[in-house]
């Protein structure tokens, strides 16, 4: 159903597929010929892992809008009159939105490769990278649920979701961070994912202590955010 929503609602289709694809295209065309300071590595190649994380963040807004809209339309209440439990319903949303988020990253990844990005690490590296992406997507869905709990309407959800989107975008994706912003970044899930993807795609072993530390941290943050998201949505949302 979420896939149908994505395809049939033009705003969703733009935000979830066309926007990240266009951004990758623009970044690729603009920065692939600019030197990064590392010999033989373009600025686009430095930014690419951050772009993959960036693609996952926008699902916060989509999830928040979808849940708020379903609540406003009385759909959540109607679903509550069926034998399907709220846990099953939340679980299906969590899985389907995570799949959509991963699909977005696949599109951005494929476009980046088409634009000359050559990640190292082989198939195992790519597989590991997508494990990180799954964790970040789950975090985003959890943050979407938190946003939906607070928001009174789908319009408000859009605005509130940027509280979670902007810091992650500026301090945890493709924008270079300073020693000051690093402190803020250490609280953001996207920072650990971008860090791990950068390491993996630059050839670091997937079982290197740094990558495994990132994996441990993102899995802990992910579990906390998803758990908190489900808890406060079920507890405080007027479903």
């Amino acid at each position: 159903m979420e896939l149908k929503r994505l395809i049939r609602e033009p705003t969703n289709l733009f935000m979830m597929i066309l926007f990240p694809a266009m951004l990758t295209l623009v970044f690729g065309l603009s920065f692939s010929s600019i030197e990064s300071g590392i010999p033989g590595v373009s600025q686009f190649e430095v930014m690419a892992p951050g772009l993959f994380s960036y693609a996952c963040i926008f699902i916060i807004m989509t999830v928040a809008q979808a849940f708020t809209d379903e609540r406003e339309q009385g759909l959540l209440e109607r679903i509550n009159t069926t034998p399907t439990t709220s846990g099953e319903f939340m679980g299906s949303h969590l899985i389907s939105n995570t799949i959509i988020s991963v699909l977005q990253v696949i599109i951005v990844f494929a476009l980046s490769v088409a634009l000359g990005y050559r990640p190292q690490g082989g198939a195992l590296g790519v597989l590991f990278a997508f494990i990180f992406i799954i964790f970040l997507s789950l975090c985003s869905v959890g943050l979407g649920l938190i946003t939906a709990t607070v928001a009174k309407s789908a319009g408000a959800a859009t605005g509130i979701s940027f509280i979670f989107i902007l810091p992650q975008m500026f301090f945890g994706t493709f924008i270079t961070i300073t020693s000051t912003t690093r402190i803020i970044a250490s609280f953001l899930p996207s920072f650990y994912v971008t860090d791990a993807l950068t390491l993996i795609f630059n050839g670091a072993s997937v079982i290197s202590p740094k990558v495994l530390t990132d994996l441990l941290l993102i899995s802990i943050i992910g579990a906390i955010i998803v758990g908190l998201g489900i808890f406060i949505y079920k507890r405080y949302s007027r479903a």
Partner: protein, 253 residues
């Protein structure tokens, strides 16, 4: 198998109370609904009709009192209750980006229906309601009447033994309303128990075997429409409704 249904009683409400902070929405409500009857639940705006339906369908917990649906206590066995019921909410709760058919199918899946059973039930409902062609279109383009029709069909997808229809015909044109009356009437022939709330008193008079009139959350009249009309010396149910709810206003109750 529920004992209440064996005894011919589908729903039992005993001393039901629901308070929202200091507001009493349902006040010591008690009545039974027989199996296979259409039971009209009438009352002015804010009388507590929707709150009662929400309690019976597990959306709200009562403050005190008990209610059983199909023999299952709504406080203790709500998952069992949900397997028996179909709920048509007051506002059409449907996914606008899906087609009518997809909406019905989705709710059939939420009722964990078998694929084959679901398909044949959809065909049956669409044909009976003459909605097959409309169901192929996205809901976004539906008129108000079509939305109400879809809203009703969704509530019946699981072939419920007990249906709660909360103002199912509001906003429909007279022709669509008449067609929906026939459709609701056909549920009785299938031995379904229906609780119908409506502001169209003539609708309740035409369809209901028994009606309960509630006001300020309290039961103020109960019985078959004809009996109530005789008792209150009225020529129709609307007159009964106006007399007893109007009197309460005049008496300042």
């Amino acid at each position: 198998m529920s004992t209440d249904l064996n005894n011919g009683i589908a729903i039992t409400i005993k001393n039901l109370v629901k308070k929202f902070d200091n507001i009493i929405a349902v006040n010591d409500l008690s009545f039974d609904v027989k199996e296979g009857e259409i039971f009209g639940l009438l009352g002015p705006n804010g009388a507590g009709k929707t709150t009662t339906i929400k309690i019976l369908s597990g959306l709200l917990k009562p403050t005190s009192g008990t209610a059983t649906v199909g023999g299952y206590d709504v406080n203790k066995d709500i998952q069992q209750v949900k397997k028996l019921i179909g709920v048509c909410p007051q506002h059409a709760a449907v996914y606008k980006f899906l087609t009518g058919r997809e909406n019905i199918e989705l709710f059939g899946n939420l009722h964990t229906m078998e694929k084959k059973e679901l398909k044949s039930r959809i065909e049956y409902l669409l044909e009976t309601a003459n909605f097959t062609e409309s169901s192929k279109r996205k809901v976004k383009g539906y008129s108000g009447g079509m939305l109400r029709q879809l809203n009703l069909l969704i509530s019946l997808i699981n072939n419920p033994r007990i249906a709660f229809l909360d103002e199912p015909t509001v906003g429909m044109d007279p022709r669509a309303r008449r067609a929906t009356w026939e459709f609701i009437g056909s549920l009785k022939e299938q031995n379904k128990t229906v609780i119908l709330t409506t502001h169209y008193i003539e609708e309740a008079e035409a369809l209901s075997d028994n009606v309960a009139i509630i006001d300020y959350g309290e039961l103020i009249a109960l019985g078959p429409p004809k009996v109530l009309m005789e008792k209150h010396n009225s020529k129709n149910l609307e007159e009964v409704f106006m007399k007893i709810t109007g009197r309460r206003i005049l008496e300042g109750i």
